[in-house]
């Protein structure tokens, strides 16, 4: 699935936070291009600006200067409606803490974005069941979140992120709250989605297992891009990690 479109383009993004009297420069000029269908991991120590960059790409935060383009639309120019539309249709979010809505069943969680998108009830239900089937939870569609394990909740979140056929899935530490084997399952699931559905996956992570499946890894350090590695280069550096 070769596609040369840049689905995400980050252009000279700076971000400052004001902490009391001092100004903290979190991002110090980031330039980044991500192609449609890529599986990209953003790595970096905590405090490196990884999450901030991630939030910028997701339209959850606005840069102090510079721009973020999604599908060549400058998202800092969008008003509240357009941003909501973008979050609803173009981007699927997966969180470290799952963020399944507690009062709703698995199926209702998956269909909620479709409700926002104006999909009819029957269609939403049908598609919701398909998605739950895809993540292997078809039989549990009526379960409430507290009846599901962490891994299962995260899978519901993956299904929910896919609800409106988004172009991008943003996963913020998707395996952070999961044990090794369930984390592995989620990573495999994401990889499968990127390969079979051509969804662009961008994840911020500490998890080295994520690197194995990534097409590219972006290392962030101190608000700048330290290096970008492609997968073939990566296996070497991974080997070094394993050797140590």
């Amino acid at each position: 699935m070769e596609n040369t479109n840049n689905i995400v383009r980050v252009f000279q993004v700076l971000k400052d936070f004001t902490m009391g009297k001092s100004i903290v420069k979190v991002l110090k000029g980031i330039d980044l291009e991500i192609k449609a269908g890529e599986y990209v991991s953003i790595m970096g120590p905590s405090g490196s600006g990884k999450t901030t960059l991630f939030n910028m790409i997701g339209g959850l935060d606005k840069p102090s200067s510079g721009s973020v383009f999604i599908d060549e639309i400058d998202i800092s120019q969008l008003d509240a409606y357009e941003l909501a539309w973008l979050r609803c249709r173009k981007i699927g979010y997966i969180f470290q803490t799952f963020n399944i809505i507690q009062v709703m069943t698995a199926l209702e969680n998956v269909t909620l974005p479709m409700v926002f998108a104006g999909v009819s009830d029957d269609e939403a239900r049908e598609r919701g069941m398909e998605l739950l089937d895809l993540v292997g939870l078809k039989k549990r569609f009526q379960h409430k979140p507290f009846e599901l394990s962490g891994g299962q909740q995260q899978r519901v979140a993956v299904a929910r992120a896919l609800a409106n056929n988004p172009a991008i899935i943003l996963a913020d530490e998707p395996t952070g709250n999961l044990d090794l084997s369930t984390g592995d399952e989620i990573i495999k699931l994401l990889k499968m989605l990127s390969r079979e559905k051509g969804v662009t996956i961008i994840s911020a992570t500490h998890d080295l297992k994520m690197l194995n499946v990534s097409d590219r890894v972006i290392w962030i350090s101190d608000g700048k891009i330290e290096k970008i590695e492609n997968r073939d280069e990566l296996s070497i550096s991974l080997g070094q990690i394993e050797d140590k």
């Binding site: 959850l60 509240a80 409606y81 539309w85 979050r87 963020n99 809505i101 507690q102 409700v115 998108a117």
Partner: protein
Amino acid sequence: MPQHTKSIANLPQKQVVLPFVKSVEIAVKSIKTRFFRSLVTTLSLILAISFYSYIKTNSHIITGLFASGDKPAIEKLSNQGFDIPEKGKAHTTTPKERWILFLSLLVCVVGIVNTQLMAVADRFREIGTMKCLGALDRFILRLFLIEAALQGFIGSIIGALAGSGIAILGSLIKFGTIAFKFADFNIILMSMVLAVFLGCSLSIIGVLYPAFLAARMQPIEAMRGRD
């Protein structure tokens, strides 16, 4: 606008919607799941509204009794400390009653604001998640308002029935059936409807500020909240 039309051109049917029926459905679900919390909110409303209804119904019944001209009943009333109204004038609630009534309603609203603020804090993540999924500010506002309206409606119906019921039962015991011979039940019913309306309004007034806070919350703040 030129700036907007440019981006709109790239976004086909850029609408996000939450049909009213769906909002009600979500609100009902939320009340059911958080039944205990809803109960606490509703309970303060039930108490306040039943007190209001009790006072009002009592006052109507007493008006009827005075109008009846029934000697023993009027004597009983004045023994209990009720002032006999001038001819042709209705019995009214005393300033003290009105003052207590006002205070009880005020306490009720403050209580609702308090529980709803806690509810919003509890639901930080839920609200943030919904916003990440494409919810607009007004969806969140609407959800909270519908929830409050439902709680207000149910609570004040229970309150109005209980208050009027107790008032009617009380006068029945004190004065016997004569209490109702002259009481105007249409007016009592009207005051109950008014009580329900008042209850709904109080519930909605109480939720306005918390709901506004919730709606204005940025998704990113909600995600950060209590991690």
